[in-house]
């Protein structure tokens, strides 16, 4: 019998006397959701007090405050934060995620030695890693604007777009970090891999796309460009935010096509779907790697 399948069905906690070897293969114990929540709570309690996560929130808050002071309005501050969100959030999430994975490896092994399905444990660890990072990001860019009473109804949609894009990038890169952690036992190699993923998705990929656009400028590249955009979560977030900032005009005809495809509610749905895909895909891969890993 598959223990994972029956995990959610049995809610009673047996006494020692009723727990017999015959139950092996079933889970006559805590429902899996409760296991996930227990691990998530402990993980959040630990990571929320981590100095690097607090520093992440502080840096974002200081930058938001500085940009607000320089620009004088929330939309200008948020506009200036675009590249900060697109570069800093994936960098901090991936590097912190990989380092934390290796730092907490022994405790993870202690948890694995408990009667817990690996996938449930992975869910708790993943959500426990991502939740404080999402909170740090959200607090970092929201708190200064709230303190200046700059979050007016006309700014709110733009701020929500930033919060959604930053949260999606955090969730995506946290899953990538846990994938790297599960795949690479060597701490330094894992860190190098994390930096390589960040560099490729935020810098190299754009350079490649720009080179292609220049080299094949005589060709109709609008549709391939859409494909390239969906193939990278950072580009997807960038395009979505630029459209909210009305910066599509800067991209010429391509911008007009992107605006046409992604500008309305349908576009919002499509880009959201793309970001969800970029959360689910690495999460599934990381969970599978964790479930099969020899610790």
């Amino acid at each position: 019998m598959n223990s994972d399948r029956v995990a959610d069905q049995v809610l009673t906690v047996p006494s020692r006397e009723t727990f017999s070897p015959g139950m092996i293969g079933a889970r006559p114990v805590t429902p899996r959701f409760a296991l996930v929540v227990a691990v998530l709570r402990a993980q959040v309690a630990e990571i929320a007090r981590n100095r690097w996560v607090l520093a992440h929130a502080l840096v974002l808050a200081v930058l938001t405050e500085a940009l607000y002071q320089l620009g004088g309005s929330a939309p200008r501050a948020l506009s200036g934060l675009l590249n900060v969100v697109l570069l800093l959030v994936p960098l901090v999430t991936t590097v912190f995620g990989v380092v934390y994975w290796h730092t907490s490896r022994e405790f993870t092994e202690l948890l694995l030695a408990q009667p817990v399905p690996r996938r449930a444990l992975w869910c708790g660890l993943y959500l426990g890693l991502a939740t404080p990072l999402v909170a740090a990001f959200a607090l970092g860019i929201t708190l200064p604007l709230v303190l200046h009473r700059a979050v007016t109804p006309d700014v709110l949609p733009l701020l929500l777009s930033y919060l959604l894009a930053g949260s999606a990038l955090t969730l995506s890169f946290a899953a990538i970090a846990m994938w790297i952690g599960a795949a690479q036992d060597d701490r330094l190699k894992a860190l190098g891999l994390a930096l390589a993923v960040w560099f490729i998705t935020t810098v190299v990929y754009d350079g490649l796309v720009i080179w292609l656009a220049t080299a094949y400028s005589d060709w109709p590249l609008e549709k391939p460009m859409l494909g390239f955009m969906f193939a990278n979560p950072v580009d997807l977030a960038r395009t979505g935010l630029m459209l909210r900032l009305d910066s599509a005009a800067l991209m010429g005809y391509t911008g007009a096509v992107l605006s046409n495809v992604l500008g309305g509610p349908r576009g919002l749905f499509l880009s959201s779907l793309g970001l969800v895909f970029w959360i689910v895909l690495p999460a599934i891969a990381a969970a599978r790697a964790f479930a099969r890993k020899d610790f």
């Binding site: 402990a42 630990e46 730092t103 694995l112 817990v116």
Partner: protein, 263 residues
């Protein structure tokens, strides 16, 4: 008469990247006995522990609990208490948080209240303090509590007294002996041979991923002329082949190797 093995591995082999770490190893942990796993670094002790716990999946062979195959299952670990070597707990969590977390992952509640637990393991002075600022000995006491409070049928203890002061170490050893008296099957790995000499009923000696000796400590020492455990193990390591009087209840297991020759 020896009790039936409670937890065992049968004909286990494991390789990492083409390097064989364990080869056709069979080891049984009988109820009411303390089994020490010994061997030099790289002999496969840690991998054997991890296979028993399900942290490492064997390439071949099975893990059995009371003769039921449990390889790949997770629920059987409800019957096991594990004390890893010098664990790195989350530094911002307190001992109380860790005990509550582990309690919420187990199928049944600890057999004592938190207050009783604090008394039993002498945790009162630091139970609410972040573990990052606790000493190695204090963390080791939390480690012991995590392994023992659920009254598991099997205990796997990796260097259990490492970092403990003499008083705490003696107290933990008394507790381990008491657990044996309750009928628990206990596996210990330790580099402190005097400690194993004091505690272990049975010895499993691993070398290059194979079992070179599996039997009672008394039989091992008798076969080497009544030497101390340390000298007996030294004799095992120095000899290219060994002559150990077979210990019938242990060597009857499939795959367990008893090499016949001169020490």
């Amino acid at each position: 008469m020896m009790a039936a093995p409670m937890l065992e591995v049968r004909r286990i082999s494991k390789s990492f990247g083409g390097t064989a770490v364990l080869r056709d190893v069979s080891v049984a942990l009988p109820a009411g006995r303390i089994t020490a796993v010994l061997g030099p670094n790289g002999s496969g002790k840690t991998t054997l522990n991890k296979i028993l716990l399900g942290l490492v999946r064997p390439n071949h062979g099975h893990v059995l609990l009371n003769n039921q195959q449990v390889t790949g299952s997770d629920t059987y670990r409800a019957r096991i208490g594990y004390m890893p070597q010098a664990p790195r707990f989350p530094e911002h969590l307190a001992a109380r948080d860790v005990l509550q977390l582990v309690s919420s992952l187990r199928p049944h509640a600890p057999h004592m209240t938190l207050e009783q637990l604090i008394d039993a393991f002498d945790l009162a002075s630091f139970v609410s303090r972040p573990l990052g600022v606790c000493s190695g000995g204090q963390r080791q006491r939390v480690n012991a509590a995590v392994a023992l409070i659920f009254e598991p049928d099997v205990l796997i203890l990796d260097e259990p007294t490492a970092g403990l002061d003499p008083v705490s170490s003696a107290s933990l050893k008394d507790r381990i002996i008491a657990e044996r008296a309750k009928g628990r099957a206990i596996l210990i790995t330790s580099h402190v041979l005097s400690e194993l000499e004091e505690l272990a009923d049975d010895i499993v000696f691993l070398l290059d991923g194979t079992v070179r000796y599996c039997g009672s400590q008394s039989a091992l020492r008798a076969s080497t002329g009544g030497l101390s455990l340390e000298r007996s193990i030294g004799a095992l390591m120095q000899s290219s082949s060994i002559a150990i009087a077979p210990d019938t209840h242990r060597t009857s297991l499939h795959g367990t190797r008893t090499v016949e020759a001169q020490v």
